[in-house]
Symmetry: C2
Subunit: 588 residues, 2 copies
């Protein structure tokens, strides 16, 4: 609990005060109905939950209500989705609902490079904050290790095949794979922003120092293994996916997998503990599951399926978050995560701010680190009104999924009543519920209107359905997402992308792969400069990637940066440890 | 507990049986006198102990008896030191002593490359085995992260200084360090045998992809940060050392440290949790601390000082292990670990096998993976007698430290009574106690003679003293270790090493640095082929390294491989997960 005013105190100060009275992990688990043997504590205030044991025990129990928090097209400052997720959990608890939340684990890259946690803000946060920001129970490290072990297997195999005879290899039970060193798909993993490792040459030195070849590192959260951690449904499913990852091609052009390298079992061994979701709490004491942290472009950008399944078994209301706007985050929640999990959401919350709507209405550019133009801090209903088209597009997307949208007007103290009313009326006219929420300022007490709207939306019957069935060919799927969700007039392909699309359509083994779009989140279109609800545009597909282990086809209509860079003024400069207490400072 | 016969069952089968009845971590801690708030559980059977809290609570308590387990010069198959450490703990417990043990955490490199755990063997093992072999509570990952964060800071700084003006940097509070990219000392870290990353070129691509330079990876356990984790005495000591690490030199030839890069605080943040020792148990239920896993050449090769301090506060007998033979492991325990910790050992156990003594007596070469020559499996007292000189040298070393040696004849079923008696008589004539121990075969019950000898040795007064004081200049120290411990006739230097030695002698800031020798463990000399007790040889110093954070001067008289290679038949091929139970298989 906290009594600090977010207008006067920083997020970490509020978190720190709340942590002084937070529940111990055994009480938190007990209050939530997790049995002693199902809780794997990690210290006093953090733990993992054995999701499979809970699944077994509560196999016959009906699921709780399933709520996804998404947003309108955000400004580069974000719309406060994690904050709203925490606030909604706290608000539902104030209404005496048995509720839990689920969010992603943050990457070490941004934490040490750019100021700011991903645990929410103000009086709506997930605690304890330090382990949350500093690797939690080691899941990301487990992904890094599993990933790099595959690369060790690949590069060692290349070397030993180059140096030794067939007889030598056969004596060790090894058959030549004839991997083409110029056609290696996988890179190494490290969970930092290490731009100097983006493009490297490895294997210099002698015959026992590997084979010389170009290579590179990507940030761990972009690893296919992290993508798999977010969508696996059981250990046997994970095990199978772990063997299907394509690391390279052989000299005949056929894929070489982790299974071919006989490393898939050992990779899975690194991940066994990481399959269990981490249990933390809101600053008002409700359970929050933090599990998996996949990229939002080449993966779903959301916490894991097993975390949501666990929340739905144990709670009457489970609130999960999908990254970015509804065009990206909700679309993947809807057509990838829910398709794989077979879970049916009851409602989606669309977070909107006056600030973002003004930007969509034609307000000046919003740039992180620069002070906001005054149109964003003074009442300007006209700009808001012009920007409402963006909100309406996202409402339409949620309605297409057959579930009930709730627009959360994430209140900022400079918002005027007239601006708020405009948004409310527009949302209601479009068939959505709307609620003004002050959870950042007031915690659960500030989220009562939102909580009530969500409860009411969940009561209403819904007809959830997927946007497309897997018998729809790839190009038709892309077209459907582009038109129905983004509002494009059509799709164009580079010759290379078209050839790939046709090859994938001809390959029956890939027909049930998920279609995971890469597109900027800063516009409904592919062009981040186009705000509002752009029309008259075509979605350009530049490339199509295939992740065989995750089972993802990734059409690329935007930039993919798999290894961000550390800036000239990185956050690590201000991070330190109080040597008397062991407390980490500066993680905010 | 186990009732399986080690002659019929494998180590992992015995461990698995024992794990079915092992103590839960809260009971293990409670039985040992660790308070609830001092235990940080990691699941049900593993935890960390808050060493600083125990230190504070028991500040006035006298320490228990401090026993180091070392060995004669081993064969490449090892002498069973970890097994003896576990066996002795179990044996002392059978004598109703309050006892604990401490061993190193194994590296992921060997685990996934070469078959075999480092948890002991037979009926003397540390459990649970799977987390022991698979990263425990994440300490090695924390070292990897802290280490690589320093490299991220270094390489990002090189890039930003190259690309930007002084004004640009000054605006961010950054002063130019003018780091020389051709004089970078530090490499990246990964805890696998990744030979293809030994020598690499990084920073290819454009201006925002780092600066092109040569670089490489070393295995994490060889990191200076791992060395520091094994010898730090408090969080403030660790924090200070973390800022002193030299990462590179500037264009004027002056050192650039982690503190200069402003990354030392953030590095420490990664390590806070890793400072607490991990608590496991023997298969007979005694507490075993597993903490830090530094290399045995460029570091001390032993578990941490804080783990031993904790064991000595909570137990009447605390058994720790020092890697390799007494010339390497015990010498570093004596003159580095005990000098820094100010702890005084009461006794050292020297593990000897008939097999190794035969090798020292002139028996044929012992090669891992090849079957042993019959002289090693049939009685041959003559060979044993000729090899006893090696044992006598190690006894003399321990006696030089002023403490009481106990020779543990680690019994193998092919040993003859005549061979055993020869060893016993020789040890006793040299002023050591001797005991035959069958802990591998029979657990604690097999180690009663050893336990009794150790108790008796600990009762005797001892006059522990360091081999040299820090006012002794470096070259004289090296000479003293070479003559008094290794039995060399003198020391020679390459011109380069001599120049470095002279420079270090002239630098008063380094006079209290530890002298950490690099030499083969397969001979008392620098030449692994020379068995027994070589004489008439000179120790050749090829190079001298300085680790400023660890505070180590490292004279190099042997090979240093900082990144081992993965073999053509690596262990990961046989590691897998039982998807029904989550059990990891093949880790043995």
């Amino acid at each position: 609990m906290t009594d600090l005013d977010p207008l006067k105190f920083k997020d970490w100060q509020i978190a720190e005060q709340a942590e002084r009275s937070m529940k111990r992990i055994d009480r938190l688990a007990d209050d939530w109905g997790v049995l002693r043997d199902e809780l794997l504590p990690y210290g006093h205030y953090l733990g993992k939950v054995d999701y499979a044991a809970v699944d077994d025990r509560l196999a016959d129990q009906t699921n709780g209500k399933y709520i996804d928090v998404t947003a309108i097209t955000p400004t580069p400052l974000g719309e406060g989705k994690s904050t709203t997720t925490m606030g909604l959990v706290q608000g539902l608890a104030k209404r005496r609902k048995n509720v839990s939340g689920a969010i992603r684990q943050p990457s070490g890259g941004p934490t040490f490079n750019i100021k700011g946690s991903a645990a929410g803000g103000g009086r709506s946060q997930c605690i304890p904050l330090t382990p949350f920001s500093l690797g939690l129970t080691g899941d990301i490290d487990a992904v890094t290790n599993a990933h790099n072990l595959a690369m060790v297997a690949l590069t060692a195999r290349l070397q030993h095949e180059a140096n030794n005879s067939n007889e030598f290899l056969a004596k060790r039970g090894v058959q030549r794979l004839n991997i083409d060193p110029h056609n290696v798909q996988m890179r190494w993993a490290m969970d930092f922003c290490a731009q100097s490792l983006r493009d490297i040459v490895i294997g210099l030195g002698g015959k026992s120092d590997g084979l010389m070849m170009s290579s590179g590192f990507a940030i761990t959260v972009s690893s296919e293994i992290m993508a798999i951690l977010s969508i696996f449904t059981s250990l046997s499913d994970l095990r199978e996916r772990m063997g299907r990852i394509v690391v390279a091609y052989n000299r005949q052009g056929n894929p070489v997998t982790t299974k071919d390298l006989e490393v898939d079992g050992a990779m899975t061994a690194w991940l066994v503990r990481a399959t269990n979701p981490n249990l933390l709490q809101t600053i008002e004491g409700q359970p929050v599951l933090v599990h998996a942290g996949p990229f939002a472009n080449i993966a779903v950008g959301q916490s894991s399926i097993v975390a949501d399944r666990l929340g739905l078994k144990l709670s009457d209301y489970h609130v999960t978050e999908s990254g970015f706007g509804a065009d990206i985050g909700f679309e993947k929640f809807w057509n990838i995560k829910c398709r794989i999990s077979r879970l049916k959401p009851d409602c989606a919350v669309i977070v909107a701010t006056v600030r973002a709507l003004k930007m969509h209405g034609g307000g000046p550019k919003v740039t992180p680190g620069k002070s906001l133009d005054s149109v964003y801090t003074e009442s300007n209903p006209e700009l808001v009104e012009r920007g409402l088209v963006n909100l309406l597009a996202h409402i339409a997307t949620v309605k297409k999924a057959g579930i009930n949208p709730v627009v959360c007007i994430n209140h900022f103290h400079t918002d005027s009543a007239e601006e708020i009313n405009l948004i409310r009326r527009a949302a209601e006219s479009a068939g959505a519920r709307a609620a003004v929420s002050r959870h950042w300022l007031s915690g659960g007490d500030g989220a009562l209107e939102l909580a009530d709207a969500v409860v009411s939306a969940c009561e209403e019957t819904n007809k959830f359905e997927l946007l497309y069935e897997t018998n729809l060919p790839l190009k038709a799927r892309i077209e459907k997402i582009a038109r129905d969700v983004y509002g494009a007039e059509g799709v164009s392909y580079t010759p290379d992308a078209l050839a790939k699309a046709n090859a994938i359509e001809a390959d029956a083994t890939k027909h049930d792969f998920a279609t995971c779009m890469v597109k900027t989140h800063l516009s409904l279109s592919h062009d981040p400069a186009l705000k509002g609800r752009p029309d008259g545009w075509t979605l350009p597909i530049r490339d199509i990637l295939v992740y065989n282990g995750a089972g993802f086809i990734v059409p690329v209509a935007g930039d993919i940066k798999l290894m961000p860079g550390t800036s000239s003024d990185p956050a690590f400069r201000r991070i330190d440890v109080d040597v008397d207490t062991g407390k980490v400072t500066g993680l905010f």
